[in-house]
């Protein structure tokens, strides 16, 4: 950009043009970090020595201008602006010993690190893409020799095929009525609905097991789930004051009756 330092207050013509170019370019930035990196480069120093305070001011000035020009800014730009304003105040004010958390210097150092790391990765990416590439600078055998045809058949599938197949099945699943899996499962809600309808007939003490729904008493899996659901439902009904529950001793049969 230009040689002298970026000064948000007194702008030369060229500086103002540069700043406007930046602002017009706002869509070209990949988020606040990218913008900060670009601003950092205008300071014309090694990224390690970049002035984070100066950078924060440049960024805030940028945001102000963008707002003045009524440019739509994504939320993360505003979040960054708020954070940089906070950082700026921390860097300017003497440290408050009673305050918790990392110091302004720590935060600034980390931001500088992030910028340097992003720049390093961009340079690395450029170097990578600048390498000789297969199919561009060097080539593999143009006519691989898959000689002798044997009737041997193999099947192939890629990891993508596999994952897509699984995703396909699972998305289908998401729309399936959940109860289809529950042939052998009774929920407490189901038992409760059933008990509420039957409760009027429970004038005398009767064994809880006699309250299991028909068809659920023989199969062990179904009996277990029905027993648990019915028991839980009767506890709920006791809590609601509709039912009484008793048991002679540990492991003795549990009996219920309608609360008189």
């Amino acid at each position: 950009m230009q040689d002298d330092d970026f000064q948000p207050d007194v702008l030369s013509v060229s500086e103002r043009l540069a700043a406007e170019a930046l602002i017009v370019d706002v869509d070209g930035f990949e988020g606040p970090l990218d913008l900060l990196l670009t601003l950092g480069r205008t300071q014309k120093v090694d990224l390690r020595k970049v002035s984070i305070l100066g950078l924060a001011e440049q960024y805030l000035a940028f945001i102000e201008k963008a707002r003045a020009l009524r440019l739509e800014l994504a939320a993360d730009y505003l979040v960054m602006a708020a954070w940089l304003a906070f950082l700026k105040s921390r860097l300017l004010l003497p440290p408050d010993p009673s305050e918790e958390g990392p110091s302004g210097e720590d935060l600034a150092a980390h931001l500088a690190y992030q910028l340097e790391r992003l720049q390093a990765m961009r340079d690395a990416a450029a170097r990578l893409m600048g390498r000789d590439q297969r199919g561009r600078e060097f080539f593999s055998r143009g006519l691989p020799e898959d000689v002798v045809r044997s009737r041997h058949v193999t099947y192939t599938a890629t990891l993508m095929d596999l994952m897509q197949a699984y995703a396909r099945i699972r998305t289908k699943d998401e729309f399936r009525p959940f109860t289809m899996d529950r042939n052998n499962l009774m929920t407490m809600e189901e038992a409760l609905d059933r008990m509420r309808g039957l409760i009027g007939f429970a004038g005398e003490w009767s064994d809880l097991h006699s309250w299991l729904p028909e068809g659920w008493e023989t199969d062990p899996v179904r009996r277990r789930t029905a027993t648990a659901a019915t028991f839980a439902a009767s506890l709920q009904l006791v809590k609601e004051g509709h039912l009484e529950l008793r048991q002679g001793e540990t492991f003795a049969p549990i009996q219920i009756r309608k609360k008189p």
């Binding site: 020799e145 000689v147 002798v148 044997s150 193999t154 099947y155 990891l159 596999l162 994952m163 995703a167």
Partner: protein, 218 residues
């Protein structure tokens, strides 16, 4: 690149590249071409003043007795495996077919849910699993029988094999990405029936316009 370009252009004004260099060029072109290459084609590609016919004679001599040879095919030239080594190519020659949808789905369910019984696979897929599908996957050595399930009937279970992990470049079946990750990677078609319930995926509303960003026009 810059070097050769310079060499190429400069040479064309003055003299052809040295024969050794021409030999290298012919060697590279014959190797990379999908079809046999004629002398005329070589002349057109190589720097002005080159003598590909002579380079071919030398290259052919150089490859005498080697594992590959420079051979004439009609009026063109190509690199071919030495005939006595044809037996080495045997392994390369297998007909590959894509796995059927039923097979890949069954395989995916086994990979994600192993150990899993046949009836569990059927429950997840919603259709019966044919015998041939399981047989094929076993024959490919991608699945094998696991321990029997300790439930009535003691059904056998299926698990994936080391061969499966090798084929799909996985360290372990647990490294397979979950649903959320599949969705995040864009592998999951998000089209839903209208009015379908809200799932765990509502955070993934990154628009499709991002896709456009992937390629720049050049």
């Amino acid at each position: 690149m810059a070097d050769t370009e310079e060499t190429g252009q400069e040479q064309s004004l003055f003299e052809a590249p040295p024969m050794g260099e021409q030999e290298r060029m012919v060697e590279a072109v014959l190797f990379a071409s999908a079809d046999p290459v004629t002398v005329a084609d070589l002349t057109a590609r190589m720097p002005h003043g080159s003598d590909p016919a002579e380079a071919l004679v030398r290259l052919r001599k150089r490859y005498e007795g080697r594992g590959v040879r420079v051979v004439k095919v009609g009026d063109a030239w190509a690199v071919r495996t030495a005939p006595d080594l044809g037996f080495l190519m045997h392994k390369e020659v297998v007909e590959t077919r894509k796995l059927s949808r039923a097979a890949i789905e069954t395989l995916a369910i086994i990979a994600y849910h192993q150990p899993v019984t046949r009836s569990e696979i059927e429950e997840i897929r919603g259709v019966a699993v044919s015998r041939g599908t399981v047989d094929l996957l076993i024959e490919l050595e991608w699945i094998r029988f696991g321990r029997r399930r300790m439930t009535p009937g003691r059904p056998v279970t299926f698990v994936v094999t080391q061969g499966f992990l090798d084929h799909f470049g996985l360290e372990s079946a647990r490294d397979l990405p979950g649903l959320k990750e599949l969705r995040a990677a864009g592998l999951l078609d998000n089209r839903r029936p209208p009015g379908a319930g809200l799932g765990e995926d509502d955070d993934e509303d990154i628009g499709d316009e991002d896709q456009e960003d992937l390629f720049e026009e050049d």
